[in-house]
Each structure stands twice: as C-alpha cells, then as structure tokens.
C-alpha cells in the first residue's frame, strides 16, 4: 500500500488550515465564551434543583460532558458534505472521481488535516481549561486510555454518517436541508445538546439503539468514569466497533450505487 498519497493530502490539509491562523484564534476565544456560558447555565440549573445528583450526574459531570461534547463536535465536524454538494453542482466531482484514489479516501484524507489541527486548537485547550475549572475532576487513568480509541471510532462513525448524507446529495441536489436534518438528529441523539442520562426512559432507549450515541456519548461516558474495569468498557467499545464496520460497509455500498446518478454537463 502506498501511504504517501494519503500523507501528502494530510500535509496539504494541515498547511491549508494553518493559513487561517486568525480563525483558529477566533475559534479558541469563541470556545472560551461558550464554556463560560455553559458553566453559568448549568450552575443555575443545578442551583435550582433540590438534589445535587440528577439523572446520575453531578454538576461537574454535566459540565465536563456538555463542554467536551461541543468541542468534540467542532473538532470532528468536517463540513465536507458542503464540498460534495458543491462539487456535484459545479461538476468538479468528475475531476475528483478520476483521481487515482477512491473518492471516499480522497475526501477523508483531504479533511484529515483540518481534523488534526482542530485537535490541537480546539479540543486540547478546551480539555485543559475544563480540567482546571473542575479542579482535576477528570481522572488520568484507564478512562483516558480507553477514551482515545473511542474518540477515533467516533470520528469514523461521524465521517460515515456525513459521507452517507453527502451521497444523498447526489440524488436531491439539496445540501442545506439534508445537512440541517443530519445535524439536528445527530446533535440530539448523540447527547451533544443534552446528556443522554437526562432523557426520559423511552427516548433514552431509542437513542441507545441508534448509531449517533456512539459518536459523543460513548467516549464522554468513558471519560467520566473513575478507573473503569475492562468489563465495564468493553461492551461500549464493541458496540462502537460494530457501528464502525456496519456503517463503513453500508455507506461504501450506498456510494457505489449512488455514484451512477451523477451527470455532469460538459465543463
């Protein structure tokens, strides 16, 4: 396997996003404001509650969960559905398809650079800030070790869902609407807006049967555990693995069928 073509796309992506240093700065400060808002909001919510623990979560748990969910979101969100949609509308997709690389891989590795820089400019600073604010509430133990593969699988699942949505664009030529629907469903059922622990039983069991909770809820739940045992974590990780494999197969197949839809008029 020739890895060089992937690494050069990755490098190009990193260099491209480093070009927009100011936007990284805005992203960083925007994130700080966001953390502050979330902090005061949930503090007020918990202050109005008669008990300290709600739905099995303390204020600190909720704060870590909600803040990191949002930073995971801005770190993982690659916005490439828009690129696919635009390439279809402009006809650029014809050029992408004749590249000596599968389109799936091409899209993923083009975005991987942004993913890489976002990790350092968004996720890591947020993680450090929240660790300081909560006075070290996140353990540095096995939970962190499990968290890493869990996030990586979250990225893969998120990527697959986005790629599926991008494939739908080949039929509908609608980008905004489809993307909006995806975002709403993913954000709600992955626990990114409100932790899944707060959901009423019925909604919660629906959420646990959908792949979305594997994107944010699983890694974050693992992170919040205190020295978890293998038997606690393994079922969650295996479920993620299942979704990774199943979605990869499904979206590859769906793309293979959908790509026949594309018609490009001259150029």
């Amino acid at each position: 396997m020739n890895l060089k073509k992937y690494t050069s796309l990755l490098r190009a992506g990193i260099m491209e996003s480093l070009n927009y240093r100011l936007s990284a700065l805005v992203l960083f400060f925007g994130n700080l404001v966001y953390i502050a808002i979330i902090y005061y909001l949930w503090r007020a919510i918990y202050a109005s509650s008669p008990t300290d623990v709600v739905g099995g979560m303390t204020f600190t748990d909720t704060l870590i969960y909600v803040v990191l969910a949002s930073s995971l979101f801005s770190f993982m969100e690659m916005y490439f559905v828009w690129d696919i949609g635009r390439s279809v509308q402009s006809g650029k997709i014809a050029l992408d398809l004749i590249k000596p690389m599968a389109y799936r891989d091409y899209v993923f590795w083009s975005c991987a650079g942004t993913l890489f820089t976002n990790f350092f400019s968004v996720f890591l600073p947020t993680f450090i800030v929240i660790e300081i604010v909560t006075k070290g509430a996140i353990d540095f133990g096995m939970n962190l070790v499990w968290f890493i593969p869990s996030v990586i699988m979250g990225v893969v699942i998120n990527y697959n869902i986005d790629f599926f949505v991008g494939s739908i664009c080949l039929y509908t030529e609608s980008i905004w609407g489809i993307n909006m629907m995806k975002q709403v469903i993913v954000l709600l059922f992955s626990g990114a807006t409100i932790p899944l622990a707060f959901f009423p039983d019925k909604l919660q069991s629906i959420a646990y049967h959908l792949p979305f909770q594997s994107i944010y809820n699983t890694p974050l739940s693992i992170l919040l555990m205190h020295s978890p045992s293998v038997s606690q974590v393994l079922p969650m990780i295996l479920l993620q693995l299942f979704w990774c494999v199943a979605l990869t197969l499904f979206t590859s197949l769906f793309w293979f069928i959908s790509i026949r839809q594309v018609t490009v008029n001259g150029g």
């Binding site: 005061y40 503090r43 202050a47 030529e173 609407g177 993307n179 709600l188 807006t193 409100i194 707060f198």
Partner: protein
C-alpha cells in the same frame, strides 16, 4: 434610501423577491427538504427544552411556562434575520471570489440590494412555531390579553429582532477584512441559542458583556420582562427598542464601510 424614496425600494424588493422565489421553486425537492429540516430543527430545540424541564422544575426562579415564553420570544425575534438577511452567509464567498463587485455597480443602495437578493421562506415555519409557543405560554401563564399588551409584544419583538440582525451584519462584514470569517459569523449565530435564558443566571461580568458588548440579552430577556413581569421592569427593558435601532444603524454603517472599501479581486 434618502434619495430614492421608500416606495421605490419597496417596488424593487417585490420584483427581486419574485425572482428569488421562482428560482427556489425550480429546485422543488430542495425546497421541501429544507423546510422539513427547519421544522425538525425547531422540534429538536423544543424536545431538548422539554427534556431539561423533565429533570429540573425551574431555572433561577423562572418556571417552565415563563421559560417557554422566553424561548418562543427568541424564536420569533430571530426570524427576520433568517428570512431577510440570509445572504450574509454568502458574503464571505462572494467577497473572496470577486463576485461581490456586481453589487457595487447598481444605482441603488448597496446594502439593500445585497440583502434583498435572498428571501428565506423556510424561516416562516419558525415564525409560526414561535408564535404558537408564545401564545401557549401566554395562555398557561394567564397573562391578560389586551390591545396594549399585544402592541407592546409586537413593538418589542420587532426591536429585539433588530439586535440579532445587527449582530449578524457586523459579523458578516468582518469578511471585508478577514479571509475566513465563517467562524465569526457562526459564533454570532450560535450566540442566539443562549438568548433564551434569563440573564440573571450569569455573574456580573458576563451580565455586562451580554448586555453591552455582545448584546444578546436584548434578543429575548429584556424585552420579554416587560410582558412577563410588569411589576419590576428594569430601565434597560424600556431602552431595548432604541438599542435595537441604534445597533442596527451602527451595523449598517460598519457593513457599508467595509463594502465601500472593497476593491475586487482583480479578475
């Protein structure tokens, strides 16, 4: 608008609007999907609101129906920015790729022509949803229904919407100076999600910021108080209509300042 008159602009607006709606209707599937996406967004927003109140009975002394009123109020007051000023999202792309120059060659107000080009019909669903929410909360809170109250509501809704429009204009206009202003625009747009919470949950520093620097408190909190708690109206509530008008004027000047110094890309 000084030299051409209001009616002239109204007539032009109607014509541009008709063209825009025609072109939208030619992508019927996209229109339908986008509308569903918008409805879904509002439904999901309401579901997360509802889930929150399943776990907590009040926030900082604000009960369920009062919060629902704030929520509906913020939905309605962000509708005009969604419907009438949606072209701001395209501004940075048009500026970067040089297409913005076409707006500079029209013998009408640049800002007016640019914003009138797109009317986002999807926002009307949100308007209906918001009005429904306000009406329901109004009924459950047993607030008196008088002509004066309705007039107050409409005046404060309109002026609150100017605040959001001003924020969005100013954020979009940064693209005349910055290369990638998407994050600023996105940040301003996300701020609106926090306008539905009472400002009293924040500490004084953030209360100051959200009142005077990033004035999201004027989107729902200060104007709503006039109707929700008529016994203790802060001075800032009475000022909110003027705040809306002044901010809108300033953002217009800022936008125009950037637009007039724009000198194309040379292509």
């Amino acid at each position: 608008m000084e030299n051409k008159g209001f009616l002239f602009y109204l007539r032009i607006y109607r014509k541009i609007l008709a063209q825009d709606i025609k072109s939208k209707m030619s992508y019927r599937a996209d229109f339908i999907i986008s509308t569903i996406g918008m409805v879904l967004t509002n439904v999901a927003g309401f579901i997360s609101f509802w889930i929150l109140f399943q776990n907590f009975s009040s926030i900082n002394g604000w009960g369920y129906y009062e919060m629902l009123f704030l929520y509906g109020f913020s939905l309605v007051s962000i509708t005009p920015v969604q419907c009438l000023f949606d072209n701001n999202w395209n501004l940075r792309i048009l500026v970067r790729e040089g297409d913005f120059i076409k707006y500079c060659f029209r013998p009408i107000n640049l800002f007016f022509y640019f914003q009138s080009e797109i009317f986002d019909i999807k926002g009307l669903g949100q308007l209906a949803f918001g009005i429904g929410t306000i009406a329901y909360a109004w009924y459950r809170l047993a607030l008196p229904v008088t002509v004066l109250a309705i007039v107050k509501l409409v005046v404060f809704l309109l002026s609150a919407s100017l605040v959001m429009i001003a924020l969005q204009n100013a954020a979009a206009a940064t693209c005349f100076w910055l290369q990638n202003s998407f994050f600023i625009l996105d940040f301003a747009f996300k701020l609106k999600d926090y306008s539905k919470y009472p400002i009293t949950i924040f500490d004084p520093v953030f209360r100051f910021i959200f009142t005077f620097l990033l004035p999201i408190a004027f989107i729902a909190y200060y104007p709503s108080i006039v109707i929700l708690r008529p016994d203790a109206i802060p001075l800032l509530s009475y000022l909110s209509p003027f705040v809306g008008i002044i901010l809108f004027y300033l953002s217009y000047k800022f936008w125009m300042y950037g637009a007039l110094k724009y000198d194309g890309t040379g292509s």
